[in-house]
Symmetry: C2
Subunit: 421 residues, 2 copies
C-alpha cells in the first residue's frame, strides 16, 4: 500500500463529516480525489477504526457497495459557547453529539476571566477516563465580539478589549484551541445541520442578548477583510433615536431590539424603570403582548419595525433566498415573523420578496456548541498531529463516552452553576 | 501534436485577458493546467496569430522566455451601455480598446425600443470592412435594472417590464448576445482594470441617474439568488422622508441622492421648481455649493448624510477594505469623500473604519463599455463556435481597425445623436 497523504485523509474525513453515511463513490465525487487515493485512504481509516462499515447497498449491476460512517468514538472535542447570558461547556464526540455539559451564568458588568473559562472546561473533563482523555483532539470555542489581527478579541459583553483568548487557553491545556465567532459558529451549524443545508444564499439573524447576522453568499461564508462582516447590532437604524447603546452610540439596532433593551423599554414605558421586576425576561414581554398589554405592544411594534427595516437592507444588498431567525426570536416566532416580512415588503422592490423565505432556526440552544464542534473538527484536519490522533489504531480501545440524558439548559428552572449530567 | 482541448484554449485565453503580457510559466501558474497542455495551446494560438510574441526575458539560468500578448486584432466585439442618460455603442478590439463609438440620449419618460438599440449597433458597424465584420465575435450589453429568470429585464429608467432583450437582439444579428447588469459590468471593469485589482473585499458604488452597488466579497462577485444583489437605490433610508421615488415608494435613497433628485431638491428649495433652469445638471449644483450657495449646501449636506448612512450599513454587513465611488460622484469627489467618510465613522464601530479606504473610480465614463467588452470576451470562451472564430488562422488577414481619436462623450458640448469618430 502506498504512503497515505495527509491531504487524502483530510478530504475524506471532511466529506464524511458532512454526511451521516456515504459510499466510496460518493466520497470520490465529493473530494474530487482520484478513486485509487480514496480507496487507499478508506482502507487506512477502516483498519484504524476511524471509519466504520455500517451496511451494504446493492447496485443494479449487482455490485455491492459498502456504506460507511464516522466512528462516533474516534475522538472527542471540548467545546464552549460564550454567547448570551450563560457560558456553556460540553464534551462532544467525533460526530458532534453532546455528552457532558456544564453551564454557568455570565455575570453582567464585569470582565470574564480566562480562569473562569478554564474552570468550566475542567468541569466537563473531570468525568473522563484516562483512555477517553487520550482521545481528546481539540478545544473549540464559540465567542461573540470583534476579531483583531494577531488573535485578540474585543467583546463588550464579556468586558474584553483585544483579549488573546486562544493563546491563553492553549497555555492551560495541552490541546489546540480553535476560536470562532459565535455568529459564524451558528451559521455553520445551520449550514451543516439546519435549515441552510444546500441553500447557497442565506442569512442567519440572531437577536437575543446581542444582535448579529451571518451571511452565506453563493455557497460561501462572507467574512470581510478582518472577519468582522455581519455586524448588525451596531448599525444606526434610526439617527434620531435616543436609545443609548452599550457601545456608546445612540440609535443602534441593538439598543432597540436586543432582549435586554426590549425589557428596558417595557419597564420605562410602564413607569417601572426604577423598580424593575426581578427576572423579567423578553419571553414575558412576548406573553404580555399576547395578553393585550399595550406597553408590550408598543415595544414589540417598535422593535419589529426596526428589525424589519434593517433586514430589508440586507435583502436589498444581498438578495438571499432565505433568512433564518435565531436566539430569542425563536420564542417570539408568531409575533415577529409576519411583522418582519411585512416590513421587508414595505421597504424593498417586490422582486426581492417574492422568493424570499423567512423561518426560525430549529437547532435550539445548542447551536453554538454544535457549530464550535464542527469548526474544531474541520480545523483539526489541517493539524497534522491531530489528524494522526484521529487515525490512532482501534487496538488502543477505550470505553465510549455514553450518551447521557442531558437536560436542556433552558428547560430547567435553575440554570446557574450546575452540571447538567 | 495532440488534439487541442477547448478547455485549454479557454483557460489560456482567459489568463491572457487578465494580463497585458505573460510568459508561459505565468500562464501555467494562472491556469493550473499542466505545462505540456499550456505549451500545446500556446503553440496553436501563436500559429493562428491569436497570441503574439512581443519580446524575450532572460532568466538567471540563461534560458530565454518568450513574452506573449493577445493580438489586439484577433477579433472584435460590439458593446453597448444603456445605463444613465445616454446610450453608448462601440466596437472594441480583442483587448477591450474602444474603436468606433456612437452615442444618443435616452429619452426620459418613454419606453426604449429594441429597434433603437439595433439602430445604434448598426451605426458602429457601418464603418467596418467585410473582413473586419467576419471577425466580429459577440455583442456585449451593459444594462441597468432587475434580472428575471428566463432572461427578462425590468428597468424603470428604460420603461421595461420583463423585456426579453437578449433574445430580441439575437434575432436581429447573427452574433451571440451577452447581457450583463451595468453595476456588475462596472465592478468587473474595476476588478480587471481599475482600483479593485487584487482587492478581495470591496464595493463599487455608483450614484448618477440611478444608484447602485456591486459587491466583491472574498474575491468573488456577490450576485444573490436572482442576481439582484447590490440594490442600493431603493432601500428606505429615511422612513419619514416624503421624497417620492420613481419606483413608487417614499424615502428611497435614490429619491434623495441620485443626480436628477439632487437637481429637483435644489429647484424646490430655491423656489424654482415651476420654472426649472433648462439643462441644470448635478455638476452645476456642485459648483454652486463651492461658490457658497446655501440651497446647494442644504441639498448636498442631506444627500451626503444619507449616502454615508447607507454605506455605513454596507460596511457593517460586509467589512470591505475599499469603497470605490463612481459615476457623477467622481465629479463631486472633493465634496463627497470627506462627508461620506465621517458619516460612516459616526455610524460604525471604530474597527470597521480604521482600515477602510474610500476612493473615486479612475476609469471614467467608458467603464460600462469596457466591462461589457470584458464580459463578452469571457462569455465567448464558453461558446465553442466563437472560441473557434477567435483562433482562425492569421492567413485570412484583414486590415486592423485603426485606433481613432475618440472624443470623450462628456467633454463635448453637444452629445446627442452624433457619431464621435
Amino acid at each position: 500500500m502506498p504512503k497515505i497523504a495527509d491531504q487524502w485523509l483530510h478530504k475524506v474525513l471532511d466529506a464524511m463529516h458532512q454526511r451521516r453515511t456515504a459510499t466510496r463513490a460518493q466520497i470520490v465525487q465529493a473530494t474530487k480525489l482520484n478513486p485509487a487515493s480514496v480507496s487507499h485512504a478508506l482502507q487506512y481509516l477502516l483498519e484504524r477504526g476511524t471509519i466504520l462499515k455500517v451496511g451494504e447497498l446493492q447496485s443494479k449491476a449487482g455490485r455491492r457497495r459498502d456504506v460507511l460512517t464516522l466512528n462516533a468514538e474516534a475522538g472527542y472535542f471540548v467545546v464552549a459557547d460564550l454567547e448570551g447570558a450563560h457560558m456553556c461547556f460540553a464534551i462532544t464526540n467525533f460526530v458532534g453529539d453532546i455528552r457532558y455539559r456544564w453551564e454557568e451564568d455570565i455575570k453582567v458588568g464585569r470582565t470574564l476571566e480566562v480562569k473562569e473559562i478554564c474552570d468550566g472546561i475542567q468541569m466537563v473533563l473531570r468525568g473522563l477516563t484516562d483512555a477517553q482523555r487520550s482521545r481528546l483532539l481539540a478545544i473549540g470555542i464559540s465567542c461573540p465580539g470583534i476579531w483583531h489581527k494577531g488573535g485578540g478579541v474585543t467583546a463588550f459583553n464579556l468586558g474584553w478589549r483585544k483579549m488573546p483568548l486562544a493563546s491563553n487557553l492553549e497555555a492551560n491545556f495541552d490541546l489546540p484551541v480553535y476560536l470562532e465567532h459565535s455568529t459564524r459558529c451558528a451559521i455553520m451549524a445551520e449550514r451543516w445541520l439546519g435549515l441552510g443545508q444546500n441553500v447557497r444564499n442565506f442569512a442567519f439573524v440572531t437577536v437575543g442578548y446581542g444582535v448579529g447576522v451571518g451571511i452565506f453568499s453563493n455557497g460561501r461564508f462572507v467574512g470581510g477583510r478582518d472577519k468582522m462582516a455581519g455586524e448588525l447590532g451596531h448599525i444606526t437604524i434610526d439617527p434620531a433615536a435616543r436609545d443609548l447603546c452599550r457601545c456608546g452610540k445612540t440609535g443602534c439596532l441593538e439598543a432597540i431590539v436586543s432582549s435586554p433593551n426590549v425589557v428596558r423599554q417595557y419597564l420605562e414605558l410602564s413607569g417601572q424603570e426604577h423598580q424593575p421586576i426581578v427576572g423579567l425576561r423578553v419571553g414575558d414581554i412576548f406573553d404580555r403582548y399576547k395578553a393585550g398589554d399595550p406597553y408590550a405592544a408598543q415595544v414589540i411594534n417598535r422593535a419589529s419595525k426596526y428589525l424589519g427595516l434593517a433586514l430589508s437592507y440586507l435583502v436589498n444588498f444581498l438578495n438571499p433566498e432565505l433568512i433564518i431567525l435565531g436566539d430569542d426570536l425563536v420564542g417570539g416566532e408568531d409575533i415577529f415573523l409576519p411583522r418582519i416580512r411585512s416590513e421587508i415588503e414595505a421597504n424593498s422592490l417586490p422582486d426581492f420578496v417574492e422568493n424570499l423565505e423567512i423561518r426560525v432556526s430549529r437547532l435550539g440552544h445548542d447551536i453554538g456548541l454544535k457549530g464550535a464542534a464542527s469548526f474544531a473538527f474541520r480545523n483539526s484536519l489541517n493539524n497534522a498531529a491531530v489528524l494522526q490522533k484521529m487515525c490512532r489504531p482501534a487496538v488502543e480501545s477505550h470505553e465510549p463516552i455514553e450518551a447521557q440524558d442531558v437536560a436542556s439548559p433552558h428547560s430547567t428552572s435553575s440554570r446557574s452553576g450546575s452540571a447538567l449530567v
